[in-house]
């Protein structure tokens, strides 16, 4: 059901944890739906120096979090905002149809963290949307 890449990222997730002095923190999803992703970033000079995640969810949720953090690490904020769920899925050699929402969640978690960073820097960024369970 899952690709080898997904299984590998699930078994050995990259960048798990928290960053104590993070200057960007975003959380998406909710417990009722069965998945929550929280992203911590340390951004310096508009570059994502470090990124870590914590995820409550299924195998795909953990694997997409891991892959998404790998894909944005070292990137500029603008580059990271270009990351799409499709790119995360492709990097994982695909996801089962009912798990596509996990990759969407990963994309949104990155955006949520960056929005937090921008708000902290006085930028006018809209609030994150409310989450409803979607598969």
């Amino acid at each position: 059901m899952y690709s080898e890449k997904v299984m590998e990222h699930f078994a050995n997730p990259r960048n798990v944890g928290e960053i104590p002095d993070a200057n960007a923190v975003g959380q998406v999803g909710n417990a009722k739906c069965g998945d929550i992703m929280k992203m911590y970033m340390k951004i310096e000079d508009n570059v994502i120096k470090d990124v870590k995640f914590k995820t409550f969810g299924c195998g795909a949720a953990i694997a997409t979090s891991s892959m998404a953090t790998e894909m944005v690490k070292g990137k500029t904020v603008d580059e990271a905002l270009q990351l799409t769920n499709k790119a995360v899925m492709e990097a994982l050699d695909g996801l089962p149809k009912e798990k596509i929402h996990c990759s969407v969640l990963a994309e949104e978690a990155i955006q949520s963290a960056i929005n937090d960073y921008r708000r902290r820097n006085g930028e006018d960024v809209p609030e994150d949307k409310e989450y409803t369970c979607e598969h």
């Binding site: 078994a11 417990a31 739906c33 929550i36 409550f56 969810g57 299924c58 949720a61 953990i62």
Partner: protein
């Protein structure tokens, strides 16, 4: 650790099946030559054996089907259609298998009215609840003998008495129960009972519906005269031979297996409780719980992830989380016993069998705590809990 899902085929059962794929290949309906007659006679003996195993008063009350699902579908749809002139009301519970629930929903779309009874926090329904739900239009009550997810054993005998008093047909889905508790249709007083061979070390693709003589039920498959014309189709003789043999063994070894499963189940439950904080046992404690079932919810983690990590350690299990079931909501059974979504998402069903050893149980107890801890360390919900 997933014996509620299916079981291994016993060697003796396979041996009982093989002749019907080779020597005795005749069609039981072709009575004018020997291989046909041999098949017919063998089929009668199998039916007789099954009747004896569940203590059905008459051999002709045993109807073979292609699965437990089919038996459930037939019991509910067949009884509903045959008795629709009397009424259109059906009583069931919220924790039935989907073979019953989805059939009831189908009937609702065709003008039937269905009452889905609530269960308590352990999954029990009471005879009083059933009696209170009966109306003049009630034609069928269908309540499972034991629940497949949380192992709750329902008071079937008492419910059967209520049904009898009100002259309503009573069906029970005993698919999970058989082989794990005594099933005697006469003593239980049920009108219909479903079972499936692969749950008790028989083959897949064969089930049985007991229909007490006198119960009005529509035919399921229209065609030839097989199964007294009620379920046409050339009989799956090898499969039926497997079902009959597996049931004979299950009944003969019942006390031994129940005692063994209980021992393994209790060792597992204790081991998990002693080693993993923030967990709850779903379903009843000892009495009222199927001997082979354990179902836990682990807070702050999600079930599919647990299953995947268990699988990496060579352990097969099952979960009621939405992800594991491929739907939006967690298991209807866990919702019905009142679990919040986030607790239901973290559920894990472990079901032991007669082959389960103490070493197997101890192995699960040795790897599960670190799996749960690893997932908790990854979970944002666990932050601040440690």
């Amino acid at each position: 650790m997933d014996n509620n899902a299916t079981t291994s085929l016993k060697k003796e059962v396979l041996d009982a099946m093989l002749p019907y794929y080779t020597d005795i290949y005749g069609n039981a309906s072709s009575k004018f030559y020997k291989v046909g007659r041999d098949a017919e006679q063998a089929l009668y003996k199998m039916r007789e054996s099954v009747a004896k195993s569940i203590n059905a008063p008459n051999v002709n009350e045993i109807y073979f089907t292609g699965s437990g699902c089919e038996a459930d579908n037939w019991a509910v749809k067949g009884a509903a259609m045959a008795n629709r002139k009397k009424g259109n009301h059906i009583i069931t519970t919220k924790i039935e298998h989907h073979a019953i629930l989805n059939t009831c929903e189908y009937l609702e779309r065709h003008g039937f009215e269905v009452t889905y009874l609530d269960v308590d926090e352990y999954g029990f329904v009471t005879p009083e609840q059933v009696e209170a739900a009966i109306k003049d239009t009630t034609i069928l009550i269908t309540i499972m003998t034991a629940n497949n997810e949380i192992g709750t054993i329902e008071p079937i005998k008492e419910i059967a008495e209520v049904a009898k008093k009100h002259k309503v047909i009573f069906h029970t889905d005993a698919v999970q129960a058989i082989g794990h508790m005594k099933i005697d249709v006469k003593e239980l007083g049920v009108d219909m009972l479903s079972l499936s061979a692969h749950k008790f070390h028989g083959p897949k693709g064969v089930g049985m519906l007991y229909i007490r003589n006198g119960v009005r039920i529509d035919n399921l498959i229209h065609g030839g005269g097989q199964e007294r014309g009620k379920r046409a189709a050339t009989e799956n003789l090898a499969g039926i031979a497997g079902l009959a043999k597996a049931l004979e063994i299950a009944v003969a070894d019942l006390d031994k297996n129940v005692a063994h499963c209980k021992k393994m189940r209790d060792r597992l439950i204790k081991g998990i409780r002693d080693n993993i904080p923030y967990c709850r046992l779903n379903g009843p404690e000892d009495e009222g719980r199927m001997c082979n079932n354990a179902n836990f919810s682990f807070q702050y983690v999600e079930g599919e992830s647990i299953l995947m990590m268990l699988d990496m350690n060579g352990i097969a299990a099952s979960s009621g989380s939405a992800c594991a079931s491929g739907s939006l909501d967690p298991s209807h059974v866990l919702m019905a016993i009142g679990l919040p979504h986030e607790i239901a998402h973290g559920s894990l069903r472990l079901s032991v069998g007669e082959d389960t050893t103490e070493e197997d149980v101890d192995y699960v107890v040795s790897v599960l705590p670190s799996i749960i801890q690893r997932l908790r360390d990854m979970s944002p919900l666990y932050e601040g809990v440690e």
